[in-house]
Symmetry: C2
Subunit: 719 residues, 2 copies
């Protein structure tokens, strides 16, 4: 990519961004779009209907003026932690930039390695830009000292801000967990791997007697996990008919209003997709179906509660300390029986994963790890091809008929600027679903944990494939034999390839923040989908709400995406300091726009009280270590005699990581008793806590049925 | 070493053993020696004074007839677990031997590699013995299949017996911990890293209020750890004078009886070693000193209790479940404050280690690891020299004046047989104290843990230095450059060196069991020391008791010693199956003789309820893996095409280890609540439990003083 491509790319990106911002300012003020731009506020009941938002840039000052407490109120701790992450990275990059740019750019620009060494370089396509990078420093030059010290500066800034952030997040979590609000998950523990009950004992009895013996005072009751597949199916069917019934009734009511007297009763065909079969009166038909299914559901419920009990349970305690202590203690001497853990929130519990056995979970985990490793390796091949194909020169060779199109200078410039990056982004968009599915298959009991696990896999994926893959990609296959001979040469290889790819990544980052955040803020896609749905599909209130319901921030893909940027910017920070401002803009703009989205748009799907943080922390640190090792290699390539002076930095990073994880980590995986012992606002309604864990398909609708639920346990104990 | 040396060594060892057995039979029946041969029984008050022991071999049938329950009663769970270890290894070797000896010996003996390959071998000193080993198999021979299958057989036998043993030990621990006896350590937890108290709060108050808030119902009271250095010094001085006073009084009483009326009052000089200085009346002098020290001790006690409180405490609970749960739960959100753990028994608590801070402990640990690694490396050098020097040929060269002595055939044979082994044993005897000291410096809070840690270090030491060092030793320096070039060649090197060293290790094992166990059973050294002390030094009852007090089994050195034998025998089991019977005799004889010692002699210094087992388990498994890897290398040396068939065995060993540690290990580091919830025989006397943790130097002797101890806390809370 040459310099003009880069500028074109930057300018077009910026223009797209401007257009999107204008669209946002215009559309977000229309009352009909409030559900798309303010759903979080509407759902919280704090929407003022757009009273004070005259200024089209009011959102900026609102976002800047919002406090952490606002974010927590609007979107919970997890979102607040995400902003800690954004501002930490922003801080790292800003502080690095302040020191590095004024020092390193002049040092690099006044040297002249590129002219002399140009012909020997692998890529051979240096631009004006590259003169500002470390590539322009002559080998063995004492100017390299500046770069070495800069590497230390970046590392120290990172340690300092990460340490502060970890403390801050720890305090956030602490405050949230000691809050006087009653939260069901703080009164419950998750019990798995319950052994077979002895003869004549039901599971319920077994669990109750086991925990009653250990906690005579603080045990409240237990909820045995059941196999809800059947009952869920019936319930979903029933709910489907109910929705359809409401829809048919709405249509009928509307036709009553608008059409001739008596209206036209809605009808539909019962066959395939409503296209064939008998034509029936919809309202009658659905009512019939519902009446048919209700007793079936009731019966299945009873069968499920009685006969489909699984070797897993949720156990409730009368106070938070007892539950917190119980969730961390070994219960049975054999560690693979009666395993306990913190109970996740009711809404994020994955019921189907609960009965999976201890060692099966382990085996699944390792199999998934192997699968992910394979995925990473095999995705590398197409990505390697992409980075090879998507240079224009190659494209011309492969697709000669494109030549005439490509040879037009404008087309060539635009394509040259975007093609590789777009290909990369599209390619990466296909992955998250797979990783979420794989993580769920591991047997993880909660949604937030699944997303964390998927985010981890995605991070390794992006760093290994995108960053290292793209960087080394072009030269990898040529030098494969060399690596085979000497595995440590991968660092050298990475180091040599880095400078040549600086502009690629600059464009990538710019594309991501201008276009990505422009789309994010303007919400064009959800807006269009919403209006289409509203116009052609939605009839009832509930359907309209479904159409605009915003979902959550999507940590599973958002965080690794940001992480990739962190890794890229960190690794280039000293080699090509010009990347730092781009990184600063990415995280600055991201902070601003997502602040707006967090306050007004997204609705969190779960709350894990910041358990994402240790992962973010570790990965920023991993990026730092990768950066340090790469720099070590690059100083080696530059034949700098004092390159080993960087080794202490790598060791320091490991020590820092070790100390942080020792000091802070356990609080993110276990509940602290000190925190749990804080007083509650009110005496907890234990029955309500218990009921909150019963899935909708099993929960009672009538008072009588509530009895039956307990009844099953009681009759069970007589069987 | 040639074959005749080996036979000589074996015969002399056996003769020594016979002599020792006869000495034992003779001496142990003398009533005056009962305190040496039956101290455990005497201390437990079940000694019958030798009523039924007419038969000199009664001890054999007694040992064989004793049950595990007898061992637990006499010496506790730790000793019982040691016997599980001995019998497991015995079982592994016996089962291996039964299958391997009848199959492999004929297979090896009928081949004839040695004749053909003799000249090319490194050692070049093959004996008749070596014909029975795998060294006699021709390269690429299909006879090697038998050895491959044998390797699998040994592995499978090991897995099976280890699994059974782990289950058994787990049950032993479970039974011991759920016993209805009140054990102080089950009601207490150890709290370390207490943060600085807020202004106007004493430590005592701080700890009490902290735990009262978390455990309003189950917290009993706390005991703040104090810096007892000063008070211990005074107390020891006082105790010393008390002992001397008793001694002086005894001497005086005796002189009254035997001598002229009125007796002669004992006197001594107050100066250096009692040799110079003023001559004083001992009884008066000691009384004076005691009266002088008593108020000083009292004052120092008060100061210690009030002003020398450390950031560590022992916290007592009213029931076992509460203590067990508390010991495993995270208390403060910052993991390096208020760290908790199981309380060790009062008698094995290392008070001086308790106040060491969290990260200081980590740093100390890593420093110690590095020191131990250095020790291992630097001990390797002298051991290498030993194995080079202690061949007779070398000795003659180095010490030419010895030539005449060495040239006498009897001397030469005996020296040739023993010299290397004795040098090795002496060398190894110097190490344990150092390792115990290093382990203590890590900041470990209990004696049993220190011994486990030292045993671990000792194990690595012996395996790396003795086994690998001696085996590879001779050839190591010559081939050092080769290893540098290709590190994996160490396995090949080990594999090639093994057959040549088989007889060395055979002799080593035989020496250890005949002479080692002979000395163990006959207790010649303790007996002589006891009689000397009794005759010339001891005057009072207490002094006599001190003289015969037997101490414990000494796991810290005994277990690694056995482990070395396990490693040696396992590694040679297929290469030179003749070693198996020696291993069987070692562990069989060991079981028998130590059973006798455990039932009648040794008194355990602590009880850790079998926490040694997971270490033993892991190390047997490590020996197995070393064996499998060595075999893999040796099959490679034999150019056996199917050698990679052994790789699954190595993987299987790792999986087995993983599953075992996942399934069983946590119960050995944490208390199981299910176990702790079993009912007690009686309501625990909480005050007595509390008092049992007060060290003798701080514990009160008068009722009043007992008040003062609480007083300090109470007045403290007013300060």
């Amino acid at each position: 990519m040459d310099f003009s491509s880069f500028i074109t790319s930057l300018v077009t990106s910026f223009l797209i961004f401007l257009v999107l911002i204008i669209i946002f300012s215009w559309l977000s003020r229309k009352p009909g779009n409030r559900v798309v731009y303010y759903p979080n506020r509407i759902l919280r009941g704090v929407d003022d209907g757009g009273a004070g938002s005259r200024n089209p840039f009011a959102w900026v000052s609102e976002a800047l003026g919002s406090t952490e407490r606002d974010v927590i109120e609007a979107s919970g701790i997890d979102t607040a932690v995400y902003f800690v992450f954004l501002s930490t990275v922003l801080g790292i990059l800003a502080l690095s930039g302040i020191a590095l740019l004024p020092v390193l750019l002049p040092v690099a620009a006044t040297d002249d390695n590129i002219k002399t060494a140009n012909s020997t370089n692998i890529n051979g396509t240096f631009t004006d830009f590259d003169k500002l990078s470390m590539g322009n420093i002559v080998e063995k030059s004492s100017r390299l000292w500046a770069f070495l010290i800069a590497t230390y500066w970046v590392s120290i800034v990172t340690y300092y801000l990460l340490w502060k952030a970890y403390k801050h997040v720890s305090a956030l979590r602490e405050n949230a967990l000691m809050s006087p609000e009653v939260r069901p998950e703080q009164f419950a523990i998750l019990v798995r791997d319950i052994p077979l009950p002895t003869d004549g004992q039901t599971r319920k009895e077994q669990v109750d007697s086991y925990f009653k013996a250990i906690y005579p005072d603080s045990f409240y009751r237990s909820l045995i996990v059941t196999d809800n597949k059947e009952v869920n199916k019936i319930w979903e069917e029933l709910e489907g008919y109910r929705k359809k019934l409401v829809r048919a009734e709405t249509i009928y009511a509307e036709s009553n209003k608008t059409g001739n007297a008596g209206g036209r009763k809605p009808t539909h065909k019962t066959g395939f997709l409503g296209l064939i079969g008998e034509k029936v009166d919809s309202i009658e038909f659905y009512n019939e179906k519902i009446n048919e299914l209700l007793p079936k559901l009731e019966a299945e419920r009873k069968v499920t509660l009685k006969d489909k009990q699984q070797p897993s349970a949720i156990v409730f305690f009368t106070n938070r300390v007892a539950a917190a202590a119980a969730s961390q203690s070994l219960h049975a001497p054999l560690v693979d029986t009666w395993t306990v853990g913190c109970a996740p929130e009711p809404r994020q519990l994955i019921w189907t994963n609960l009965p999976i056995k201890f060692f099966e979970r382990q085996v699944r985990q390792y199999i998934i790890y192997i699968l992910v490793a394979l995925t990473i390796v095999f995705y590398m091949i197409p990505i390697g091809f992409i980075s090879a194909f998507t240079t224009l020169a190659n494209l011309k060779k492969i697709l000669p008929f494109m030549k005439t199109v490509i040879n037009q200078p404008e087309v060539r410039t635009v394509l040259g600027a975007y093609l590789p990056q777009i290909a990369l982004i599209v390619f990466l968009a296909m992955l998250p679903k797979l990783l979420l599915f794989l993580s769920k298959t591991e047997g993880i009991p909660s949604q937030s944990h699944i997303e964390r696990a998927a985010a981890g896999k995605y991070f390794y994926f992006t760093v290994l494939n995108v960053f290292i893959g793209v960087t080394v990609g072009g030269t990898l296959f040529q030098t494969f034999k060399q690596i085979e001979k000497k595995p440590s040469s991968i660092v050298t290889l990475l180091a040599t390839s880095l400078p040549g790819n600086a502009t690629f990544f600059l464009t990538y980052v710019a594309l991501k923040f201008f276009v990505g955040y422009g789309l994010e803020l303007s919400r064009i896609v959800p807006l269009i989908i919403f209006h289409l749905k509203k116009k052609y599909l939605c009839k009832t209130e509930a359907e309209v709400k479904d159409a605009w319901f915003p979902g959550d921030l999507g940590y599973a893909t958002r965080v690794p995406g940001d992480m990739l940027i962190v890794t890229i910017v960190l690794c280039y920070s000293v080699i090509a300091p010009m990347i730092i401002p781009f990184g600063v803009v990415y995280f600055g703009l991201g902070w601003l726009i997502l602040r707006n989205q967090a306050l007004k748009v997204y609705v969190p799907a779960y709350e894990s009280y910041g358990r994402m943080w240790p992962h973010m922390h570790t990965r920023i640190l991993a990026a730092l270590i990768l950066y340090q090792v790469t720099m070590l290699g690059y100083f080696g390539v530059k034949k700098f005699f004092y390159a080993p002076f960087l080794i202490p930095a790598v060791i320091l990073s490991f020590i820092f990581g070790y100390v942080c994880s020792k000091k802070f980590y356990r609080f993110f995986s276990s509940a602290s008793l000190e925190v749990a012992s804080h007083e509650l606002k009110e005496t907890p309604q234990l029955e309500r806590i218990f009921l909150s864990y019963i899935p909708p398909s099993l929960s009672s609708e009538t008072e009588e049925y509530e009895d039956a639920l307990s009844q099953v346990s009681r009759t069970g104990s007589l069987a």
